[in-house]
Structure formats: C-alpha cells, structure tokens
C-alpha cells in the first residue's frame, strides 16, 4: 500500500536524499517542509500518513513543532517520528515525555528509511 510521508527538516540535502530514498525504495509519495511552521501547515492540508520531524532546527525546533501538531485537531493523530543525531542516554530521556511514535537516529541509510518507518509504525509493507 502506498503511503504519504511528510519530511520536516531545515537541511535541504537531508530532505532531498530522504525523499529520493523513500520514493525509490517504496514508491511512496513524499512531501517536504523546511521549517516547523510550514510543516504544520502542510500536514493540516495534506494529511500525510506519517511525519519525519527533525529535532534540531532553528527558530521552531522539533519539540515546539510537535507541540504545534498536537495542538491542532487536524494533525494531532498523525504519527510523528523524531529524527535526531544525538544518541546519548540523556537525550533519549529528554524525549520520553513526548508522545512520539518513535525515534530515528542519524546517520540512517536512505534506502532503509522506509523499512524503519514500517517497523516503528507496525505497517506491513
């Protein structure tokens, strides 16, 4: 079954590579947003099946963006996977209070991202 994924990341390279990986490995539809504000607007309008949300972003970071998505009835039920480059235990703990579906740690393999998303969200590919 084809899915629609929204990538919210301030880094263009990461957005492009991840998008290409998801498209080429699974043929999923991919939307991208370069900031939290844009991401929330696109999520509300397009209703993706899942959101990949980068933690470290200027202005509105992942935590604030997640709060924005949760606050909006139109987006609050969309599963969110946090993308982080930090793996220290204290970082993991700091996300424990967030009701995110899962955490994806950089560096990930672009061709494997879809597989990992399926695993986290228990989708049968």
């Amino acid at each position: 079954m084809t899915k629609c994924i929204l990538i919210i990341d301030d880094e263009e390279d990461i957005r492009d590579i991840t998008q290409l990986g998801l498209e080429m490995s699974m043929g999923w539809r991919v939307l991208t947003a370069s900031s939290g504000q844009k991401g929330i607007a696109i999520a509300a309008a397009e209703q993706p099946d899942a959101i990949l949300l980068d933690v470290m972003m200027p202005d509105m970071d992942g935590r604030m963006t997640f709060a924005g998505l949760q606050a909006n009835p139109q987006t609050q039920n969309i599963p969110v996977i946090l993308v982080t480059a930090k793996i220290q235990a204290s970082d993991q703990e700091s996300f424990a209070d967030l009701a995110v579906a899962g955490i994806l740690t950089k560096p990930y393999r672009a061709m494997n991202v879809a597989e990992q998303i399926c695993k986290i969200l228990a989708w049968t590919a």
């Binding site: 880094e11 390279d13 990461i14 590579i17 991840t18 290409l20 990986g21 080429m24 470290m56 480059a85 930090k86 793996i87 220290q88 235990a89 204290s90 970082d91 950089k106 560096p107 990930y108 393999r109 672009a110 061709m111």
Partner: protein
Amino acid sequence: MRQPKGDILVIDDTPENLQLLATLLTTQGYKVRSVTKGSTGCRAAQAAPPDLILLDVNMPEMNGYEVCQHLKADSQTQDIPVIFISAHEDVLDKVKAFAIGGVDYITKPFQVEEVLARVEHHLTIQRLQRQLQNQNQRLQQEVQERELALQALQQAEEKFAKAFRSSPNPIAITTLAEGRFIDANANFLRITGYPLAELIGQTVLELDTGLDRIAYAKAIADLQTTGVVHNQEFEFRTKTGQTRTVLLSIEQIELAGVPCALNIANDITERKQLENEFISLVSHELRTPLTSLMGALDLLATGQLGSLTPQGQRVLEIATNSTERLIRLINDILDLERIKAGKISLQKVDCNAAELITQAGEAMQGMATQAKISLAIEPMAVTLNADPDCILQTLTNLLSNAIKFSEPGGIVRLSAELTSEWLHLQVQDHGRGIPTDKLHSIFERFQQVDASDSRKKGGTGLGLAICRSIVNLHGGKIWVESVLSQGSTFHIQLPLNLEEP
C-alpha cells in the same frame, strides 16, 4: 718494631739523672727524648708535643717552674701532663708546682717503681681525657646534626603545610582505617561547600555526598597494596546539592604515627561539561552530513539514477566503504563516551546469560559464514544482573574480532563457566595470536596489534576499549591470553551477585 707505650720528654740538667730515667723508661717500652736545658725542652715540646713531660725543678737559666709556665701558655703544649722531679721536700714548692699546672711531683731520690707507676698513671689519665674529649666532640657533632635534621624536618613540614594550604587542588587528609577527616584545605572546603568544622571527625562515607562507596573502598584497598591511587574519577554532591566530578589521587602518609590518606582532587566538572557539549556537537554536525553522504551513495548504488561503468562501480564501492567506516568510528567514539559518562546509561535488569550467548552467536552467524568460520556457541543458563544490550555488544564485538583474525575453515568458540561468584565467559579463536607486549595495551583506545588492522579488518580500534568499559561498569574483569600463531582467548568475568549501592 713495637709501638712505644708513650712519647716522654725528660728535661733535667743532671746528665746522670737524665741517663737513669731514659734507660728506665726505654726498657719499659717508652720512647724517650732527653734534654738538659729548659729552653731546649720547650722547643722540643712545641716541635713534637710528647704524651708526658718529666721536668726537673732545679735548673740553671730557666728553672722547671718557668718551663712549665711557658708550656702552659702555649695552646700546643698546654695539655701535656707535666710531672716535676725535685730533691726539695719543701711543701711550698709542691703547692707552686700544682699551681702552675703540674699534675704530679716526684722527689729525689726516687724509687723506680714509683716513677713508672706515676708515669703510667698520668698517661692513662691523659688517654682517658683524650677519649673523653673525643666523645664530647662526637656528641656535640651529633647534637648539631640532630638540630640540622630537626630544622630540615620543620622546613619540610612548613613546605608541606604551605603546599597544602595554598594548593589550587582541593586536598583532604583522612585516616586510612576509617576515612575520618583530619584536615582539609580551603579549596577542598570551597568545592565541597562544607565548613571545616562539619568535616573534621566525620568519615568520608558518613557525609551525604553520594560518593560511590564501593569504588572508594576499592581505591583505598588499592592504595594499601600499591601505595598510590592515580587520577581516579569520582562524582559527589556538594553540600548545596550540586554534582561535581573530580579526578582523585591518593597517597599514603603518616601523621603522628597514624596512617593517613592524602586525598588530592582535581575538579574536572567544567571540563566534563565542555567535553559533553563537544561530543554532542560532533555527534550532530558529523552525523547529519554523513546521512546525506551515505544516502547519496546508496541511491547511486541502486542503479536507478543511471548505470555506472565497472570503474565507476568500484569508485562508488570505495566511497561507501569509507563512509561506513567513518560512521562506525563516530558511533564507537560516542558509545565509549556514553559508557564512560557512567551509570546513567547502564540499564541493569535480571537477564538470562544463555539467551545473551545465543543471541550473540546468532548475530555473528552471517559474518562467520561469509568468512568460512564455524561458530561453536555453548550457552550457560544463569541469571545475571546486567545491561543486556551492553553485554550483547561486548560478546558480538569479541566474536567479530575472533572471526576477523581467524583463517577460513577455523573455529571460534564462545563458552561459559560458573564459579561461586562469577560467570566466566570465554571467546576463543585459533588465529594469529597477540604478541605478549600488546596483551594489555590492546584494551586501550586505538591500540590494535598491527596499525594497518583498522584498514584491513574494518575495525575502529575502539571495540576492545568499549568492551573493557562495559565490563568494568558491571564490576567485572576482562583480559586476554594468547599464544602467537596459535590463537587467543578473551576472558570476561561478570559478578553473579552485584551489590546494589
């Protein structure tokens, strides 16, 4: 020739007397010099001071009293005992003789035995006096030396006190037996937040500092066996509740006969914070571009973006391998730092050792098959209080090394044994082995046996350092035994009943 019993100068103007005395004394083993004039006698005594002088009182020119006065006035001759010889029976003369420094008086005509007895007697006194003087001198010297030593000691103590007071390092002195505070310097009080009065008399463990008791007790035990503890990391809470990290060096000293520990701390709290920030920064700043890089290479490798020539494929392969190695390296560095950061990352639960052993074997089966190595996995069912992910990481790491350094067709064995206190795990290979001088250093960071190993075998040089950190954190031991070109066996001992602090 026998050593003469003594050197005696005889001064007498009567040649017969002189001759008689000289013969008498010489036959008794004395060296005798005889002179007939007082002035000659004085010169002879000054030129070579004799042990004793026999001096006639009645002489022309310079009589015996004058000679004696002359001798007593000269520091070189003043201590020579002088025995007067005279025919006078007059009491006044004797008194005069003693008054000017004579030690005895013999009257003529004299008895041979009497002369000999008196000479011998005064020589003995003279010898005893010299001995006494020497002893006195030695005693004085000793007293002086002791005074100097005492001064040196006081100076050393003063130096120590100054170093103790003004050292930028926090220092505390505790008793060795109980860890009771005896003294602490200003910087120690500053970083702990305790006033001296609250420390003195308390033991290290009585204070509510959250200090790792087991680790501190072990450090003190190490101190007693090796005499010194060097830069061991400890965390503690200050009086106001802040957590600080110090490197503690401990030396054994004695204060007033009591064995004590001199605890010298190096506050590395700020350094650790910077280090952590740096690691976070490196972590993020390297991982993000690596994700793009790896992704780009993966996408190219699918061939969906256009086909590559065989050379192009090779170039892509090289780029991919190097990127993978870089990612492994960063992951290992972060792993090591995370583990070193301490207990927070260790998630200890009761787990079954057999399951961990089996899982480790399963995880490495693919690599083993590819390298044509057979794995012999021998699980042992026992409950272990440990972080399963960490133990698994250690076992797979050791298995991976064993596979890498085995020849195709070889066997790698993972087995376990139980003792009353330990689970003893062994990973055995029949590879090329490790030279004796590297057996210890291979557990240090970036210390492979062969510098080219990281390139050829794809390792990062951090695997064993990570293993050691994990095992240490569990209160266990790791070591290796190896015979060159016959193989190596890595041993891990994990405690079965971990005392929870």
